[in-house]
């Protein structure tokens, strides 16, 4: 029979290792550190087409993550998609005439929203709408356009 002292030591080691493993899963494997948008304010934007944008997608400015998409809805009056974003409270100086565009990371990667800063001196506040937007590029439409342009080109003269 194992003595009480060493038994307690082993159990303590076991529990500590288990909690350490959980912490490793949370911080090293998961995104507990990066997914928190602190003190966020909400901004909405209308897009003609959101493509493959998903809830929780990143919102970036100059390639740096400043928030995330919190909801995607449909506006039946304007036939447009309404995207609600949580922007980190540390970045309150986004000009009102900034452009929000849906971009793709890499050729087949996830879609995210990229902000291009405008020149106005007034800044976006919580609940306001970004007026200038650029929709997602849909690959099929692009291919269709290329084919259409090719067909309209004058035949090369011989």
């Amino acid at each position: 029979m194992i003595s009480r002292k060493s038994l307690e030591l082993w159990v303590g080691l076991f529990v500590a290792a288990g909690i350490l493993a959980l912490a490793m899963l949370a911080f090293k494997v998961g995104n507990l550190t990066t997914s928190d948008v602190l003190d966020a304010y909400k901004v909405t934007a209308h897009f003609d087409n959101v493509g493959g944008l998903k809830v929780k997608a990143a919102v970036t400015m100059a390639g740096v993550r400043i928030g995330r998409v919190s909801a995607i809805g449909f506006d039946p009056e304007r036939y447009q998609a309404v995207v609600t974003m949580d922007i980190d409270g540390r970045y309150r100086n986004i000009p009102v005439d900034s452009t929000a565009s849906i971009l793709t990371s890499g050729l087949l990667g996830d879609q995210y929203i990229g902000f291009e800063p405008g020149g106005e001196e007034t800044y976006l506040k919580g609940g306001e709408t970004v007026l200038r937007t650029q929709s997602a590029l849909v690959l099929e439409k692009l291919v269709g356009q290329v084919i259409f342009n090719k067909a309209n080109e004058p035949a090369p003269s011989k």
Binding site: G18, V29, S35
Partner: protein, 259 residues
């Protein structure tokens, strides 16, 4: 006529057993409160079912992670996305393999031992002896073992997943040449704390309760002979494995259905 009667008898017996098991569980949970004053009894059982199961969990976790690394790499490299290997390994481990394989190993290593121990205590009339001395065997013997299993299982599952990710890293980065930075960053981008890790933890807690419950009930309910203990041990492993796999499907359907 007789076959119908046998069928009815089987159904009635089964329902009776389930009812007994449910009443037994409520008795065990009620008995657990008094254990707060004698926590050393639980610590002893955490050692027996947790620390002594650690080695098999760590070794199998390492190998499962290494196999995932090899298999995943060979499939992903065909699509030119070998960099997502970390994501694949981590998601498979955290969501499914960690809780499920740990619960199956736990049922085989710790659950069967619990059943055999309690069954033998019953067969040698130790439990009856305790009752003679006005000691409630449920609070003194059963509840610490149940609680020990419930505490140990999530910790074991977390250790399994963590060492599995390290095993996948060992094979993917060390042997197959996946970029280490891409391995970790893709993993962190794709694994969500709430949707993936917390769900895995909830799964392992549920499995811990179910496996420990089946193990202590089968032991307490065993026919007090050597054959009775043997078949009770057998039933523990079979029932807990089936229960874990079925519950895994239900829990996965519930959590993925919301998305």
């Amino acid at each position: 006529m007789n076959t119908l009667r046998t069928l009815g008898g089987i159904v009635v017996n089964g329902v009776e057993r389930i009812g007994r098991a449910a009443m037994f569980l409520s008795e065990v949970v009620a008995g657990s409160w008094t254990l707060l004053r004698r926590f050393y009894l639980v610590v002893q059982q955490v050692y027996a079912v947790g620390v002594l199961t650690l080695l098999i969990i760590l070794v199998s976790g390492l190998f499962v992670g290494m196999v995932l690394g090899l298999q995943g790499y060979n499939t992903l490299v065909k699509f030119g996305s070998a960099n997502s290997l970390g994501l694949l390994v981590a998601l498979s481990l955290v969501r499914e393999l960690g809780p499920v394989v740990t619960a199956l190993l736990f049922a085989g290593r710790a659950g069967s031992a619990l059943t055999a121990e309690i069954g033998l205590m019953k067969a040698t009339e130790q439990l009856a002896g305790m009752e003679m001395m006005a000691v409630n065997p449920v609070t003194r013997v059963i509840a610490p073992r149940f609680l020990g299993g419930v505490i140990a299982m999530p910790l074991l599952a977390a250790l399994f997943s963590a060492i599995g990710v390290l095993g996948g890293h060992l094979i993917g980065v060390g042997l197959l040449g996946v970029d280490s930075g891409a391995f970790w960053s893709q993993m962190q981008n794709g694994v969500d704390f709430h949707d993936d890790i917390l769900n895995g933890v909830i799964k392992s807690v549920v499995f811990g309760v179910v496996v420990s419950w089946i193990a202590v009930f089968e032991g307490y309910d065993a026919v007090p002979t050597s054959e009775g203990v043997a078949s009770a041990t057998n039933r523990t492993v079979v029932y807990s494995s089936l229960a874990v796999l079925a519950l895994d499907f239900i829990l996965t359907a519930l959590t993925l259905g919301e998305v």
